[in-house]
């Protein structure tokens, strides 16, 4: 392994990770500087239940009409984000637990996930380019971030065999992209995962308090059916 690859896999990643953590810390401070309102009403439901339901919403495609009616889109979402998890995991396995990728089956699973995510990313890019609504609302960052992710998945597929003795460039490309991501992500739409717990928490707390979340909640006492009674 060359010194360049060692440097890219280790020092560069650690520096980029520290930068990411620093910017995220600043971002969190920024979020908490906005004031929060006190709730003054009696609760009709459980705030904790609402928050839990809201946070787990991502794993309940049946809970929203928008995902229930679009199983294909939801599948793409799942595959794409599994690819993200696989790629990020690979950035730690390769330098710190290289033995894992000596197991061929593990390599194939990671490659399959990232290849599927690559295809899902391409479909997402096509959708963003062809759907008039998405084209109109999309920013340069939306396109750039998605394109980067697609490249990242492709680089990941090539990198996970960790065969630096044959060729180092797939690993240098993969870790170079990773370092770039770590620096760029806090400023891009990709950091939506940082906001997700907040939006979902506030929506869940409010709707849980009011008894609107979790959906499908039954009211306390049921009325069984019509009662015909003529006391007159």
């Amino acid at each position: 392994m060359s010194d360049l690859l060692k440097f890219v896999e280790n020092e560069v990643q650690i520096a980029a990770l520290l930068f990411l953590a620093l910017v995220y810390a600043v971002r969190l401070i920024w979020i908490f500087r906005f004031r929060s309102r006190k709730e003054r009403t009696f609760a009709a439901g459980s705030e904790a239940g609402g928050v839990g339901y809201s946070l787990l919403n991502v794993a309940m495609p049946w809970a929203m009409e928008s995902t229930r009616k679009r199983p294909g889109f939801y599948t793409q979402f799942v595959v794409f984000h599994l690819g993200v998890v696989a790629a990020i995991t690979a950035t730690f396995i390769i330098p710190y637990a290289p033995g894992v990728f000596r197991i061929r089956a593990v390599v194939i699973v990671f490659q399959a996930i990232m290849a599927a995510a690559f295809l899902a990313g391409l479909l997402r890019l096509v959708r963003r380019l062809t759907n008039p609504v998405l084209r109109m609302v999309s920013s340069a960052d939306d396109f750039f971030s998605l394109t980067l992710m697609i490249l990242f998945f492709a680089a990941g597929v090539l990198a996970v065999p960790n065969a630096y003795e044959k060729a180092e460039w797939p690993l240098i490309l993969f870790f170079g992209l990773t370092a770039f991501f770590l620096v760029y992500v806090p400023f891009s739409k990709i950091c939506h995962y940082l906001y997700y717990p907040f939006t979902r928490f506030y929506l869940g707390r409010s709707m849980g308090h009011r008894g609107a979340f979790p959906r499908g909640r039954k009211v306390g006492t049921q009325v069984s059916g019509p009662v015909k009674e003529d006391r007159a």
């Binding site: 920024w30 979020i31 906005f34 004031r35 929060s36 309102r37 709730e39 003054r40 009403t41 009696f42 439901g45 809201s54 991502v58 929203m64 009409e65 928008s66 995902t67 009616k69 979402f77 759907n131 008039p132 609504v133 998405l134 109109m136 609302v137 999309s138 920013s139 340069a140 960052d141 939306d142 750039f144 400023f187 891009s188 739409k189 939506h192 906001y195 997700y196 907040f198 939006t199 979902r200 506030y202 929506l203 409010s206 009011r210 008894g211 609107a212 959906r215 039954k218 009211v219 006492t221 049921q222 009325v223 059916g225 019509p226 009662v227 015909k228 009674e229 003529d230 006391r231 007159a232």
Partner: protein
């Protein structure tokens, strides 16, 4: 101000009409003199808007500003976009982006550093503010259907209300919003009903009810202390639908309830919800809460009104910074309890026609009541049937968000109402029941415009029809 430039869709380009505001200034109305209500003043409104944006934004709104990933899944949850599928400006994401881009440019660091990269943008002049007014007041009923369909949990409904509030503070509002806000500030109710009219209408309904039931002891008490229930209503009931008060009185009488209506603080509706003005919202809600305290009642009961229920039960306590002390419930919950407790005898055969139920957005999506009205309707109707989608996925009556008071947006409102019309038609019902006076008017507009063979009713009317009043109570 000059006529605003047409938006990308060219749908809504209403100019800012300030004639009523000018008259109000000439008349030196107390609401203006006291600084409660703002009028439009040409000048540096963009800077004032940006200052207000920075001062008023809360954490939950800030994260809704930043979290959108532009996935577009909200589009098909919006009846505006479903009715105009070729117009991207009808999507919730585009509408929210019109305020989001300002937030990004002036508050969020990414937009300040590289605005072109994240589509951040600013406002140039009052014409831009008027354009924003047309978007947030004219192309959204703030029904929150998109909120429920956003995978990220972005609350576009709240963003729209927040933006409305900033514009209201600058007097950049539809004329109807100014007028109704003025009335509610000046008279304590949004239809400017004077006390004499209020009391005379209650007496009239009391007399009608005495004749109907043949019993002189039936009453509609006003300002009676120490009752169990304080009943608050929508001014529309005084002005246009006083029978709904008689229905409530009949039910309370049959149930043997100890109840009263207040002389002041009887309006449970709240235009602050629609205008985004928390000060107005707090003032109106506080009137109700203080009436309840003054009369030492045990519970506040809210007549059938969607935004009134949301405002009085949920938002009002927070707007008014008033810790809730008394149970506050919809009259539909009261009805359900009476039925469960056997305090009312009903015969569903008295409502033989097919009835469907329209969920009010403010009650189902921003409140807690979904099954309660259905349980009552199943008891009092022989043929109750659902419309689809329903409950928290129901479509807005299209008159929500105060749109009924904004005449300039009526053509678009009725155009996009075709979604609601198709939903209603598919039920085959003769009656569409709703627990919201605003929805009554919204649905009546849809029914008339699309020539649907049905009539709008409310839960109390159906319960009153089905009520079997025992001789002992008569």
């Amino acid at each position: 101000m000059k006529r605003a430039k047409r938006g990308p869709s060219g749908v809504v380009d209403a100019p800012l009409d300030t004639r009523t505001q000018a008259r109000a200034k000439e008349d030196r109305l107390p609401s203006l003199e006291d600084g409660h209500l703002r009028t439009y003043e040409p000048g540096d409104n963009v800077q004032r808007f940006l200052a207000l944006l920075g001062q008023r934004i809360t954490r939950s709104l800030a994260v809704s500003m930043t979290a959108c990933v532009h996935c577009g899944l909200c589009a098909e949850s919006c009846h505006y976009f479903l009715a105009r599928p070729d117009d991207p400006t009808m999507t919730p994401v585009w509408k929210a982006d019109q305020i989001r881009k300002i937030f990004k440019k002036h508050i969020d660091w990414t937009g300040r550093v590289a605005p072109w990269w994240v589509k951040a943008g600013s406002l140039r002049d009052d014409e831009d503010l008027n354009r924003l007014k047309n978007i947030v007041f004219g192309t959204c009923s703030a029904c929150r259907r998109c909120t429920y369909n956003c995978p990220m949990g972005v609350d576009t409904g709240l963003l729209v209300r927040f933006t409305r509030g900033l514009l209201t503070e600058l007097g950049i509002v539809p004329e109807g919003v100014f007028n109704v806000s003025r009335d509610q500030w000046e008279t304590g109710n949004q239809m400017a009903v004077i006390e004499q009219d209020y009391l005379e209408t209650l007496e009239w309904m009391r007399d009608e009810l005495r004749t109907e039931l043949g019993r002189a002891s039936v009453d509609i008490p006003v300002d009676m202390p120490d009752c169990d229930v304080l009943y608050t209503i929508n001014p529309r009931e005084i002005k246009f639908d006083p029978r709904s008060i008689a229905h409530a009185a009949k039910v309370f009488h049959a149930a043997g309830e100890s109840w009263t209506m207040p002389k002041w603080g009887w309006d449970q509706t709240n235009f602050g919800l629609f205008s985004g003005d928390d000060k107005l919202g707090g003032y109106v809600a506080r009137n109700v809460y203080e009436a309840a305290e003054r009369l030492k009642v045990k519970k506040i009961v809210i007549s059938e009104c969607g935004h009134g229920y949301r405002s009085t039960r949920w938002e009002g306590y927070n707007w008014a910074d008033y810790d809730q002390k008394l149970p506050t419930e919809s009259v539909v919950v009261t009805l359900k309890r009476y039925l469960e407790e056997g305090r009312l005898a009903v015969d569903p055969a008295r409502n033989p026609e097919a009835v469907t139920f329209h969920d009010s957005c403010n009650i189902a999506r921003s409140g807690d009541l979904v099954e309660e009205p259905r349980e009552v309707l199943r008891r009092v109707c022989a043929d109750f049937r659902e419309m689809f989608p329903n409950r928290r996925e129901n479509f807005c009556c299209t008159g929500g968000g105060g749109l009924l008071s904004m005449a300039e947006y009526r053509p678009l409102r009725l155009e996009v109402a075709k979604i609601k019309a198709e939903q209603l038609r598919a039920t085959g019902a003769k009656f569409v029941c709703t627990m919201c006076h605003n929805c009554v008017d919204g649905l009546n507009d849809v029914i008339k415009h699309y020539k649907l063979p049905m009539r709008v009713v409310q839960v109390l009317e159906l319960v009153s029809n089905a009520l079997v009043v025992p001789a002992s109570t008569k």
